[in-house]
């Protein structure tokens, strides 16, 4: 008789270790991005000067993380 796991099931049976590792790494990047965009990490870059490529530091920080997330998405998509 099938037993029902009590906790969450993120991967179906049969998925390879490499597949799971890729997705976990991606999740790590997204978690890092989420942490970076709120207090306290974001508070470390709160001051606007010196400008970064013409943008205040907080805005440049957010754009940078947006590009990191996009890069991670591209890598994940291409690997699958």
């Amino acid at each position: 008789m099938d037993t029902l796991p009590k906790g969450p099931v993120f991967f179906v049976p049969g998925t390879s270790k490499a597949y799971r590792l890729r997705r976990l790494l991606f999740l790590g990047v997204i978690t890092a991005a989420a942490v970076a965009l709120i207090w306290p990490a974001y508070a470390l870059v709160a001051r606007p000067l010196p400008l970064v490529l013409g943008l205040p530091v907080p805005l440049a920080w957010i754009v940078a993380w947006l590009l990191i997330v996009m890069g991670a998405l591209v890598l994940l998509y291409r690997s699958e």
Partner: protein, 496 residues
């Protein structure tokens, strides 16, 4: 010819093109509910990309966003921040929903959750939440459209007439073509918005200050310099609270992909890869917020004391000596932002209202043809209700919309549990959703009772997750066969 007339004619031409495109798209889908609501599950990456992107960026993008930048400085960055991660859940959950939806003929978000949790009242609650959240959002789009046409015509087109004409166009192509009308017009409107935003966002700082860097250098050195320090300032000029900022990000990020009119597009995708690629490309759309915010910042030193702050874009247009044609194109871009969100909201709210609200309540089954007819009737009804609020009511719509985000975010724990927690039950899901919504609404209405100065949606999410978890563990789970469908339908690694 008077400049305002040229501007109005340009906007008129844009509206005509949108209408023609929206109606023409009808030929590309079948005359079924699946065709009307989910485009026969045939949308490619190009259309999906613009449907998602343009639906997210509304009147707020062209009016409210610059207004926030102008009056609240770095506080406006939160719009960019939550979008950086907010669409990511759709990469994982979207394809699963698409596959289940294709197999079981789902076209709405609630249908999936009702089936997974075998709980009909859940669908009714979701229908109410979805429609109730869409109406203020739609109303704000109508107000934005009416406002911009009134300003560019120097008052000759009253706001009620501008909103009526614009949303008469929207309603026509939504009625005739359903979601494919939304798709084609959003593609056109999205391209328009992107071009206009990047042009204005780069041109204005250059014109007024000699560049983006010089603009921010001047703002930083001025009396307004404090606004550039994160997390920005409140409307009264006081520093925004870090708790409030961070919690707004969390709630908005969790709620973004759960908005019914966005989530439903999972069913419209032609394949899992098309949907995933759309999510991969979505950040490029998010980047268009950068020039949008630059437009608002451009007004800080050059045009101080403009009130209300949301009028800064039309104000700048009247001050900068642009050719009337350019002004017309910018205004058309603003209309595009409004319409590209309004059409998706109107279509989704009507579809949900019938599929999830009416159909489960009637004793007999409603035919596919009848459903389409009822959906179309509801499109007209909801459009009329929203229009009434737009022109005749003093209800605080912004407050309602901000409150809506807290309610919509409560769907996230259910959607996560549907696909990743087999032990989640229908009683747990309904209880969690109700607890989350009630707590969120309570703290929205009585903010002084919040134990911490954070977004009310966070309190709702805590209540939601606790109740969902505890009650699920003490109630009977769904049969294994159904759980395999949701948690292991085909391996994600094998889907195409």
């Amino acid at each position: 010819m008077e400049p305002w007339l040229v501007t109005v004619l340009v906007c008129g031409a844009y509206l005509g093109l949108s209408l023609g495109m929206g109606i023409a798209s009808r030929r590309t889908v079948t005359g079924t509910v699946a065709g009307y609501v989910a485009a026969d599950r045939s949308m490619n990456v190009l259309v999906l990309y613009f449907v998602l992107g343009a639906s997210v960026f509304s009147s707020f993008a062209f009016l409210g966003g610059p207004g926030w930048a102008y009056s609240r400085g770095a506080a406006a960055f939160y719009i960019l921040a939550y979008g950086a991660v907010g669409m990511v859940p759709l990469y994982f959950i979207g394809p699963r929903a698409r596959r289940v939806g294709a197999r079981l003929n789902f076209v709405t978000q609630a249908e999936l959750l009702v089936h997974r949790f075998a709980n009909r009242p859940l669908g009714i609650v979701l229908a109410i939440v979805s429609v109730a959240a869409c109406i203020p959002y739609l109303t704000l789009q109508m107000k934005g459209a009416g406002y911009i046409l009134s300003v560019i015509s120097e008052g000759l087109i009253p706001e009620w007439a501008g909103a009526l004409v614009t949303y008469g166009v929207v309603m026509t192509y939504v009625l005739t073509s359903g979601v494919m009308g939304v798709g084609w017009t959003n593609t056109f409107q999205g391209i328009f918005m992107l071009v206009v935003a990047w042009f204005m966002g780069l041109y204005l700082p250059w014109k007024l200050y000699g560049g983006v860097g010089p603009m921010f250098t001047k703002i930083a050195a001025s009396d307004f310099g404090a606004m550039l320090t994160a997390p920005g300032v409140t409307t009264s000029g006081e520093p925004w609270n870090w708790w409030a900022y961070s919690s707004a990000i969390i709630v908005s990020a969790m709620g973004l992909s759960m908005w019914p009119h966005l989530f439903m597009k999972s069913y419209a995708a032609k394949s899992d890869r098309a949907l995933r690629l759309t999510v991969v490309l979505y950040p490029t759309f998010q980047l268009f917020l950068v020039p949008i915010l630059l437009i608002g910042f451009a007004g800080v030193i050059a045009y101080p004391n403009v009130a209300p702050a949301d009028t800064i874009v039309p104000y700048i247009l009247t001050q900068i000596e642009f050719p009337a044609l350019i002004v017309g194109l910018v205004c058309a871009g603003t209309l595009a932002a409004s319409m590209s969100t309004g059409d998706a909201l109107l279509h989704a709210a009507a579809s949900i209202g019938i599929r999830d609200g009416l159909a489960p309540l009637v004793s007999h089954s409603i035919s596919d043809r009848q459903q389409r007819s009822y959906i179309r009737i509801l499109v007209v009804v909801l459009g009329a209700v929203s229009y009434y609020f737009a022109v005749a009511s003093d209800v605080s719509l912004v407050a309602l919309l901000l409150g809506s985000y807290g309610a919509v975010a409560q769907i996230f724990p259910l959607m996560f549990a549907a696909f990743y927690w087999p032990r989640a039950t229908g009683v747990g899901a309904l209880s969690g959703l109700l607890a989350g919504i009630l707590v969120s609404v309570f703290f929205l209405l009585v903010p002084e009772l919040r134990p911490f100065p954070i977004h009310e949606g966070v309190f709702g999410l805590v209540a939601n997750i606790v109740v969902l978890t505890v009650i699920s563990l003490y109630t009977r789970p769904e049969p294994m066969e159904k759980l395999r469908l949701y948690t292991g339908i085909e391996s994600d690694a094998q889907s195409g």
